[in-house]
Amino acid sequence: MHLIEEYPHSMSQIPLFETTPHWTVTELTRYLRQVLESDSSLQDVWVQGEISNFSRPSSGHLYFTLKDAGSSLRCVVWKTDASRLRLTLQDGMAIEAHGAISVYEVGGQYQLYVNLIKPVGEGALYQEFLRLKALLDAEGLFDPSRKRPLPELPRRIGIITSPTGAALRDMLNTLRRRLPLAEVFIAPSPVQGDEAPARLVVALEILNSKIKPDVILIARGGGSIEDLWAFNDERVVRAVAVSKTPVISGVGHETDFTLTDFAADLRAPTPTAAAELATAITIEDLKYAIGQLQMNLTESIHSSLESRRVDLGNADLQLKQFSPIRRLQSDRQRVDEWGHLVETAIRHKLDLSLLRVQALDQRLVALSPLEVLKRGYAVVKRSKDARLVDSVKKVKRGDELQVRVSDGSFNVNVSGKADG
């Protein structure tokens, strides 16, 4: 009778006291299903409750009952939706489930066909997220005109993250691979929990005031919205917005957005991507660029030298035409010619002298006393003192004389004298 009260229009044509049944169970169940499915408000519902009777058969679909203090609701999660759930369900867990109400005809049970599940409280956090986002947005904190350009080639890179997280390891590996020229300064900070927002703010302040890096990466690995909540904290968002150094955020996964992302100069989908975006130019690019500069340098000096060589060649030709060397060369030839003349003259003179010497020699020979002797004359000397006897007065009777003729000499004694 409850049904009749609920759906008076549908039932109105059925006589109340009819004894022959007009509906089969199946027909009625199907009808109820259609009724529920045609109510759009039942096809898009969030229901909050606690999980019980959780089961996960080999089909991969999930079954559980959602209950609160007063009632319970059968729930199904189809395998495809189950694979997208971010959290592991278990009995006793308080959740908010989203889905559509329908009827499982075989069991005659209405149930919730769940496609999304969030832990309880997430909805409230999301509301807070939207409220704060609207507030800061109205202040202009997320204004695109506030975004600063990132350095092309950062020398110093500040990193704010947990010193023990995988995010840090991923970022360091990426930086090591892409730009090992850089210097990294890690400002360690918890990235979740009550302490995190204040520590993140301090880390930003210290990097900005003490290290003054070229860019700051603020990052955290993936997690639930509560895990990432520190990055939605107003203090952190404001500190990122006023940072003197450009900030790249890399918080969570691709699909996670935090207010820090909106305030940052650049939002990276992951920590690794943040490290990549911070190093737009890699060491391979630099090696290539230096290689190019080397080529340009060599080419420019070669072409400069070559053009000078050509100039020099031309100048050399011109120079040679007016060159003193040319005159020098002709002078040298003249000197050679003169030299030849001089030499000839000297030689001629020498020849003449020689002839004269020969003539003199012959005359000397002709004057030689030996030649005279050959003609029958004799040279007479006194034997005692070898004095030439050229007068009778130089001899007296008995003197021994030496007589030289052409082929020898002999001695004689003076036996008498007579004047010429």
């Binding site: 850089a182 210097e183 890690i186 060491i283 230096i290 500069l293 340098l297 420019s300 000078r308």
Partner: protein, 75 residues
């Protein structure tokens, strides 16, 4: 004057920016042979410095602590 600093002490940025300027000068300006050769030789020294820095580059990682800055050891 940056020129007074030995090239061996130049950072990559210092060396590469001067190198770029030298190449631009050689390509665009008419310099005396002597100046050109001097620029070329300086360029060669700068290239050597840049290449050396790139070959030897190793990421330096430091960590800020309560007591200051220390080297960061990661696995």
């Amino acid at each position: 004057m940056a020129k007074q600093k030995p090239v061996a002490d130049f950072s990559f940025e210092e060396a590469s920016s001067e190198l770029e300027a030298i190449v631009a000068t050689l390509e665009n300006e008419q310099k005396s042979l002597e100046d050109s050769m001097a620029l070329f030789e300086r360029g060669q020294a700068l290239i050597k410095r840049c290449s050396g820095l790139l070959e030897k580059a190793e990421l330096k990682v430091k960590q800020l602590t309560d007591n200051g800055i220390s080297d960061f050891q990661d696995g």
